[in-house]
């Protein structure tokens, strides 16, 4: 992309025009090594336009069927509707087929979004055959969106393994569950009780089962996380009726604390090493150590993308 074309693209994206924004996101989804310089240039241009990281990144994870998609969509729509100064981006991740590599990104079916509202941007993303609930393009795209929006909601695939990655990515993690049969052993078996900052028991429109599940979940958390000074909140919601959604919104607002510099450095280091491992494997990691490690490269470069551009990979890049 030529410099004037890039500048026009960035100006449009900063103004939250949807088509430039969508193209900018596509640039950051491009995992090819030859895309790295373009990404570094785009981030530099964003900084020139004053688009510095400002968003709270909220991760929403949970089992399929918990109603995550509807919930996250409703939260985003309500967030922009109730405060005209706030903007929200949603990044919804769906699994890719191992056989064909293709995917069905169906989360848009769940909610009717307002038309032409620039402060609300919804983007689907395939997991790209990755385990871990987020795709290899997720972090690069979050790095763009967090400079343009006040909140970035990341909805993960939710297959059990995803929580670790989401914890690295998000400032606050919500685990979305649906009412179970009322047996707290079932919650325990899920084995995902340690990570989340807060729990959302969705589909609470189903009545008695929801009440029983609430108490079972409370008991499970106490059991799984003994000795925590303040136990994590459990929100009871119904994305259908709207019940409880305002409480989650209030929680998001209350925790809109930006990561400090050390937190950002740690997040960059983690995803830089992940990037090297994903693209160049163990040998790539060895080379990274010889080039000063992720921390060394990141310290010398202006941005994450510039560090990627500075990294010298093992051989001519594959593909």
């Amino acid at each position: 992309m030529t410099a004037p074309a890039l500048d026009e693209l960035i100006a449009g994206a900063v103004a939250l025009e949807k088509w430039p924004l969508a193209r900018l996101v596509r640039l950051f989804e491009d995992a090819r090594p030859e895309a790295v310089p373009g990404k570094a240039a785009a981030i530099a241009a964003l900084e020139t336009h004053g688009a510095l990281p400002r968003a709270m990144v909220a991760g929403f994870t949970g089992t399929p069927g918990s109603g995550k998609s509807t919930l996250v969509g409703e939260l985003a729509a309500r967030m922009v509707a109730r405060d005209p100064a706030i903007s929200v981006a949603v990044l919804a991740i769906d699994p890719s087929s191992y056989r064909s590599g293709g995917s069905i990104l169906g989360d848009r079916t769940r909610v009717h979004f307002p038309i032409g509202e620039r402060r609300l941007y919804f983007r689907s993303q395939p997991s790209d055959r990755e385990l871990g609930g987020i795709g290899r393009a997720t972090y690069p795209v979050v790095r763009v969106l967090e400079r343009l929006f006040d909140y970035v909601f990341v909805e993960t695939v939710g297959i059990g393994q995803s929580e670790v990655e989401v914890e690295r990515l998000a400032d606050r993690v919500y685990l979305v569950l649906q009412p179970l049969g009322g047996d707290h052993i079932q919650f325990m078996k899920a084995g995902i009780m340690e990570v989340p900052h807060a729990f959302i028991l969705n589909k609470c429109d189903v009545g008695a089962a929801a009440r029983r599940s609430y108490h079972a979940l409370r008991a499970s958390i106490d059991f799984a996380r003994p000795g925590e000074a303040s136990p994590p909140p459990i929100f009871r919601t119904s994305a259908l009726s709207g019940e409880g959604l305002d409480d989650v919104l209030a929680d998001l607002v209350a925790h809109r604390t930006l990561r400090d510099a050390a937190g950002r450095r740690e997040r960059d280091r983690y995803f830089f090493e992940k990037w090297v491992r994903d693209e160049y494997g163990r040998f790539g990691l060895d080379l990274l150590e010889r080039q000063g490690g992720a921390e060394g490269l990141l310290a010398r470069a202006a941005t994450f993308e510039a560090a990627q551009a500075a990294y010298r990979p093992p051989v001519a890049p594959p593909g």
Partner: protein, 685 residues
Amino acid sequence: MNSPNDPGQAPAERLPHRLYDADGNPTKDRPWIFRTYAGHSSAAASNALYRKNLAAGQTGLSVAFDLPTQTGYSSDHPLALPEVGKVGVPINTIDDMHQLFEGIPLAEMNTSMTINATAMWLLALYIGVARERGEDVRKLQGTTQNDIIKEYLARGTYIFPPEASLRLIAEMYEYCLDNLPKWNASNICSYHLQEAGATPVQELAFALANAIGVLDTIRERGVVPADRFPEVVGRISFFVNSGIRFIEEMCKMRAFVELWDEITRDRYGVTDPKLRLFRYGVQVNSLGLTEQQPENNAWRILIEALGVTLSRKARCRALQLPAWNEALSLPRPWDQQWSLRLQQILAYETDLLEYPDIFDGSVVIESKVEELKRQAREEIARIEAMGGIRAAVESGYLKSQLVRSMSERVSKINSGELVIVGVNRWTDGLPSPLLTGEDGGIFKVDEAETRRTLEALAAVKAKRDPARVQAALKALEAAARSGANLMEPSIECALARVTTGEWADTLRGVFGEYRPPTGVEGQRLYVDSDRVAEVRRRAEEFVRRTGHRPRIVVGKPGLDGHSNGAEVIAVAARHCGFDVVYSGIRLTPEEIVQSAVEEAADVVGLSILSGSHLDLTRQVIEGLRAAGAGDSIPVIVGGIIPRDDHEALRALGVRQVFTPADFDLADVMSRIMDVVEEQAGVRAR
């Protein structure tokens, strides 16, 4: 099913192949009710059509409503405008209903209304017309289709979530029991399940499980006293499809009769055999009607009619036949007349109605029926184990089963295992003279009629009493919240000249709107693997060249809810290595544009079956242009698109047009890949 000619009861001189009346005199059966599914443009135009059809010897009415009426929007709603009068008649207020039945005495007519989410409203309007005319409401006879389950599964004109929808159905049964004793409040409709791909066993099992769901709901509510519950059971009627495999279809009907007798006796303890009768109407299969060599459809329709008339024990109560050119467009009056003549010849010229059941004692038929019954019982047991029909819908189980059956059907057509004359065998034919008339053999809706409908709506709004309207809507809302029966408040709304949109919006405000699980989960495709591999290879090459996977947005603009075609394409595209943004049904063009733009789609695929393809496509293309993506995101269109309109679509900028003739999925995907590659300026081959 005792009749005077049953063996054992017949006096010695009676012959087993003759029919006798109660006095022992030879007789013949009365014909079934002849109907034609009809309605279009406006209430006035449809009324003229009904009167013509009745004069031609039709004996009942079957009303087709347009999509806005079916989904609870008045004609002046933005989502409604392109669809007004397209696939049926628009009904906004009781005055439209007066117009629709002008000159037709309601108490003497048997009227079937294909209406579901707004069934209560249309029945309220019908009752309102009878009341204002001074006709005896208790004499009203007919059916409101009112089967919400198959709307969720196949047809898509639902509005409310399942619990509220089932409540509306139950309340109509409860109301009709005393007030309209001859009215079928709902009609378990397996017709659309077959259209969506159901096998005979699935059609049997899903329809019967559905009927069980309705009856269980009514029984659990406890409004109908236990001693009158058998009357409710006796009001359950069915609407069945009849396909081209007519022996199996006939056996399916016999299986229906026997299973229903069993269920009503064993599950509901109904002792009166009359209340256990399987009462059903039929529309024969439209799915198998072909766009290629459309004249062949006349034979298909005849054969399909035999499946539901040959066996006396399982003969339909009412029959409506599609027209030979239904795969091309709405039928013209002459096409409908031709279909009606088929019924009249079958009933009056042939000896069909002179015999008792001609299959009794056939070892082959009995064995086939037993097999269908056994398999259907197993499937019903599976659904029951899941928690019944509602749970099986909400979990997506039924939908995924249907989509799988449909995929299997499509792949059998692809492989040639399923022969369709003129489609995958004997495809070279002489041009049909039936298509060479001045109108090209197809029907076009007169656009001026839409204006008349809108003017009529505006006129009613101007002259009605606003205070009465407000009071009626308030009472409706209060009843919806309190759980009181909504029929009387709806009738008052009708009399107050409330509009269709106002009635539905009031209930939307209380019940919310339903967003269903789609059929894209768990779907499998059975397509030619070599050619799929080739498209996949091109997709991988595309990823290498552009840095992203080809991305298609599949959307259905407008109110037409037949989502299966779009879903098959969505799944095929994933199978071929696309990222597919499936954004569901009932979308405005603006919503599809927003999806395509936000997702940076490489191509937008629109699926349109309602006839509004020109309007809707134009709006999408203009929307993309306005967003700055007009030159970047190509548009393709699939659906029932008359050949004459292909050029018009291309002139709008559409890059590919797909019709039911494009049944070969590998070919469809390859052509979509062509568009994507061309747009991106990369060529894999």
